[in-house]
């Protein structure tokens, strides 16, 4: 099971991806239907559900704006 954290742009998605990687969390850039459902076109980071909360906290602590999160089917 995976979850997607939706970011405001590709810039923030790449920044967040890099930040997570330095914290040992590997996330794939996603442009899935789930991302689209949040606010039209956009980018997200696909993360194992177990790591979701930790990842979200890391991203928030770096002041990277998160638009939302969705479960992947």
């Amino acid at each position: 099971m995976k979850k997607t954290i939706v970011l405001s742009s590709i810039t923030y998605a790449l920044k967040a991806q890099e930040l997570l990687k330095t914290n040992g969390i590997y996330a794939n850039i996603s442009r899935s239907k789930a991302v689209k459902s949040v606010r039209g076109c956009g980018y997200g980071l696909s993360i194992e559900s177990l790591l979701f909360e930790k990842a979200r906290d890391i991203i928030a602590s770096a002041d990277i704006p998160v638009i939302g999160s969705v479960d992947e089917k």
Partner: protein, 372 residues
């Protein structure tokens, strides 16, 4: 041909820059527009360029807006922060890339422009002149260093005297020549080209925003950003707010490659001091706006001169025929020429780069003296 026109653009560009541009043309899709490998490869190239610039200027990657050059950056900064009824203060050394956008605002009744005289020999007098016109300033736009004589302005002190204004710095002639820390300087925006001090390609530049600044910059262009497609408004967040349309990926890849091999030049100041000494030995040469003594610390390596009995364009042509690339005339900076007393004559500009040598300067001086 010996190249002494680095204030116009640096020469030569490196192989790495050319290779990166060619590779981007083959391998990069449209950045921020898709989830496939070509688009993500492109997005990573762009983000890498932002990160390298952010590190150099001490800001965040998202505060680096990639543009078509310093002129576009300045237009976005000047017009995007202008509020009707404001007062814009400029120095007397500005390039037309600053003067023309402000004049367009002034013509439309959107700002009032005030100018302060730069005293080439005294920062104290420059600051005094600034204080006399800056009390109600809502924007201050100044060049970091003159494109005709290389004089560096006392930016940090100017900023301290205008804390409430939006402060925009034109760093076209200093970026890549001297370290610039946007937080230390305290300015809101720095505008730079890729193709001068950083030895990158043409058609790319950046608008760099101070991470502690709370200014709102309105876009100059509206269009697609690859995000928030269902709204007709541009995104609120940087950098996409100011980057409508497809980016110049090849240029950005070249810029990023230039930054990856970039180091601040170590010998420019000593070479400039050497040039200055040699030029002073020419009896029929007049220098304009040059350092008075041997201290060149307040200058980037740009020198303006004229030769007795010669028009500047004529002299420049003669030097070109003898194998030297310089630039004559008014250098898109009429007010700066007015400040230096060369408004009627123009001048010949010699501008050094990281590849110039003492031997080249010796040859130049010998040829210059030989023109009778």
């Amino acid at each position: 041909m010996i190249y002494f026109d680095n204030a116009a653009t640096s020469m030569p560009k490196s192989r790495a820059v050319a290779d990166a541009m060619a590779s981007a043309l083959k391998k990069c899709g449209n950045s921020g527009r898709g989830g496939h490998a070509f688009s993500l490869n492109s997005a990573e190239t762009v983000f890498c360029c932002r990160k390298r610039l952010a590190k150099l200027f001490n800001t965040r990657p998202e505060n680096v807006i990639l543009t078509a050059g310093a002129t576009e950056s300045l237009n976005i900064a000047i017009k995007g922060t202008n509020r009707i009824g404001g007062v814009t203060v400029v120095s007397s050394m500005e390039h037309n890339s600053v003067m023309r956008p402000i004049n367009a605002l002034r013509r439309n009744g959107e700002t009032v422009m005030r100018q302060f005289l730069v005293d080439i020999n005294s920062d104290a007098l420059t600051l005094e002149n600034f204080s006399a016109v800056s009390s109600s300033a809502t924007s201050v736009v100044v060049t970091h260093a003159s494109n005709i004589c290389g004089r560096i302005l006392p930016v940090q002190q100017l900023r301290e005297l205008s804390e409430d204004a939006v402060f925009i710095l034109d760093a076209a002639q200093t970026a890549g020549h001297i370290p610039i820390d946007i937080v230390e300087l305290g300015v809101d925006i720095i505008c730079i080209p890729a193709h001068k001090g950083f030895c990158g390609p043409f058609g790319v530049g950046a608008l760099i925003v101070n991470p502690y600044s709370d200014i709102i910059i309105d876009p100059l262009l509206e269009g697609g950003t690859g995000t928030n497609s269902k709204t007709l408004e541009m995104p609120e967040l940087l950098p996409e707010r100011l980057e409508a349309g497809t980016a110049n990926i090849c240029g950005i890849a070249g810029f990023s490659a230039a930054l990856s091999e970039f180091e601040y030049p170590e010998n420019e100041s000593s070479l400039f001091a050497y040039l200055l000494e040699k030029m002073r030995s020419c009896v029929d040469i007049t220098l304009h706006g040059a350092p008075r003594g041997d201290d060149v610390s307040q200058y980037v390596p740009v020198l303006l001169f004229n030769k007795k009995g010669y028009d500047s364009e004529q002299l420049c042509s003669l030097l070109c025929e003898r194998g030297f690339a310089l630039r004559a005339g008014f250098h898109c900076a009429p007010n700066a020429h007015l400040t230096l007393g060369t408004y009627e004559t123009g001048g010949v500009r010699i501008s050094l780069g990281r590849n110039n040598t003492k031997k080249e300067i010796d040859r130049f001086i010998s040829v210059l003296k030989g023109i009778k």
